[in-house]
Symmetry: C2
Subunit: 394 residues, 2 copies
């Protein structure tokens, strides 16, 4: 009894890209082994391996003398053949990295910036940093592609931000075209929360099929993995938890123009506002986290209540999506167990037993690097997908 919906590749082609996919497991294989595994003619295996070796993606691993006859060459995936350029851009900073084809960073740093300086300045800073990092770390491998996470909705198919609320000057801006002026490679752009979900999935929880990453900071958003793939939704707007009606929010006005949104009661600034009402000075998520870590009881109580409010909305998400794992990250999550305890409390109270039987609710594992690791994973998956690679190797 197995699911018949798992295979979606185009039919009938064991292309060079498909051959590489086989080799990406890290095992070395002879031509004969590859012919047997694929059913391809020997001559076809030979020509496809030649194309992959010309591109540097496969190396000759030496001879296999075990079969007794003439030693046969064995071939292996070369993960250092190219690099991915990756960046996660926030409102006030960016994490920038250059990784190999397993997504492992070869170099990484964090920059200070202001997203309101606009796309030309910010993207110029990214490309300049990638260029400098490659030079400083003597990285000479060709660039497979660039991946950028942005703090707002992005139309993934075009790489253009769509009405991002905190990014003046970015609406509809052609991000790939700007990066192309410096790096003529594939440029993939996505919402940073989607990439944080992808980073957690690819690097920390690769076997989970249905999981949700929740970011609690200035805003509240999430990224969904469905059947092992990122679920972006129709226009890349999936995962928007922040503007779902929170049962406890009543008529609290939200910056989106509606009222009663989760973000209006449970984001970092919303918790800070509640603390100010109680005479405690706080403005940001970081302020709140400092108060909690300093033992401030009211701050701890308010963070726990924010967790409960988030959990009320996540209970609906659990009923709808039935994930096996919820990963909670973002600045306010650095308050630790206080937030998670509130989240768990509401989810277990409001969900049917079946949906929570195997559910795990854990803090972020990739932490501040989740987004940039997700950006690299996105680039590697794209660049090495048969669809893209086969076009390149023609």
């Amino acid at each position: 009894m197995q699911d018949g919906h798992a295979t979606t590749t185009s039919p009938g082609s064991t292309s060079p890209g498909e051959l590489l996919r086989l080799l990406r497991d890290g095992q070395a294989r002879t031509r004969a082994e590859l012919a047997t595994e694929t059913g391809l003619a020997r001559s076809t295996v030979r020509s496809r391996l030649d194309a992959l070796m010309d591109a540097g993606l496969v190396s000759d691993w030496g001879n296999d003398a075990t079969t007794g006859g003439r030693p046969a060459s064995r071939f292996v995936f070369n993960a250092s053949a190219r690099v991915a350029l990756a960046a996660e851009v926030g409102a006030t900073h960016a994490t920038v990295a250059v990784t190999d084809l397993t997504g492992e960073p070869l170099a990484s740093e964090t920059l200070t910036l202001d997203i309101a300086d606009g796309p030309d300045a910010v993207l110029g800073l990214l490309t300049e940093t990638w260029r400098r990092m490659r030079s400083e770390h003597a990285i000479t491998a060709p660039v497979a592609g660039a991946g950028i996470g942005l703090p707002g909705p992005v139309e993934h198919s075009t790489g253009k931000p769509t009405h991002p609320p905190i990014m003046p000057g970015w609406n509809g801006y052609d991000v790939p075209a700007r990066v192309h002026t410096e790096f003529p490679v594939s440029v993939l752009v996505d919402n940073e929360v989607n990439l944080m979900a992808l980073g957690e999935h690819a690097r920390c929880f690769p076997t989970e099929q249905n999981m949700i990453f929740v970011k609690v900071a200035t805003g509240i958003g999430s990224g969904l993995i469905s059947n092992g793939q990122l679920h972006r939704g129709d226009v890349g707007a999936a995962g928007d938890l922040g503007h779902i009606l929170a049962p406890s929010a009543g008529e609290v006005p939200c910056r989106c123009g509606n009222s009663g949104c989760l973000e209006a009661v449970a984001s970092g600034p919303a918790v800070a506002a509640k603390l100010r009402t109680a005479g405690i000075e706080a403005q940001t998520s970081t302020d709140v986290v400092s108060l909690v870590h300093g033992g401030n009881l009211t701050a701890g109580q308010q963070v726990r209540q924010a967790g409960r409010d988030i959990g009320e909305v996540l209970a609906a998400v659990v009923s709808l999506f039935n994930p096996s794992l919820i990963v909670v990250g973002g600045q306010l999550a650095q308050a630790g167990e206080m937030l998670l305890a509130g989240v768990r409390e509401s989810i277990y109270r409001r969900s049917l037993p079946l949906a929570t039987e195997h559910l795990r609710i854990v803090p972020s594992q990739a932490g501040a690097n989740a987004g940039v690791l997700g950006a690299a994973a996105m680039v590697v998956r794209h660049a090495l997908s048969p669809m893209v690679l086969d076009r390149e190797l023609v």
Copy 2:
């Protein structure tokens, strides 16, 4: 700029199953064309076609004399080579069908039953009906598999119901094993709402990548299509809208033991209960629909309010899932535009503009047949998937 996550098949094998997938587009091809399209050696194409023809899944379509040389045989998918047995079981009836390998019914009928008679009696009735239908319609093609939809949660990987609330005697029952005593074929079992979603998707909206099917009847449930695939969730419990907190439900108790659930205010029986409070006799969804069609104003108003309540929960779903299409079906949806108008009203009020820009909200197209068509589509996809077919053709 394209998504690199679309291909998930196992690498490197252009197997008989992959070859058949190519032919399922209905186009006839020569061996030479298949060799060119796949990169397979001619001898490999020949042996794989032989295996598919031995199984009856491919037919010789006649000669292609257009190339001027010796006429070459052309080969085509034979959709009548096998049949799928399909059934959707409800609390009081079942729709049973035998279909070809495109999912098209060759025979279909509706039975009266009582799910509380238990699995042995109900499944015995299904197998007896399939057997009789094949005989009466002189259907001699071998059976590719059986697909059954049940009105409760099902562990899809084992085919066992898990704590179904309205199915006494079914919890943990091995449905496939019971069907195997009559038909020794693959037996796939799923929740009926998942299969209704699959039926609407496969037959009416095959190009939609992200859609939701909502069933409003005695209960309220949904089936989700993510990236073109059914999203079942971790234990097959995804899509459970009925027990999400409805903002307008207050403290209304629900049969699940919690209070404030959507089902407690917007299901067919919940609307009927409200009508009785207003002195109007009604018990079921069908009673309510009859009153609406008869022009009863109060019934119309209450159905519209149920639509609004459902829409409040669906607004959260739209924010989370960002579907391009919501299909509304089930008995109460037969009240027509009254229900849909309420749904649309709440969704547009509570959602961010980006998520509703391209959203369509439409009534069910497959109607009462959605579930059984989905059961057939599930069987066909499974039976013809390379993973399954290649094992069979060895």
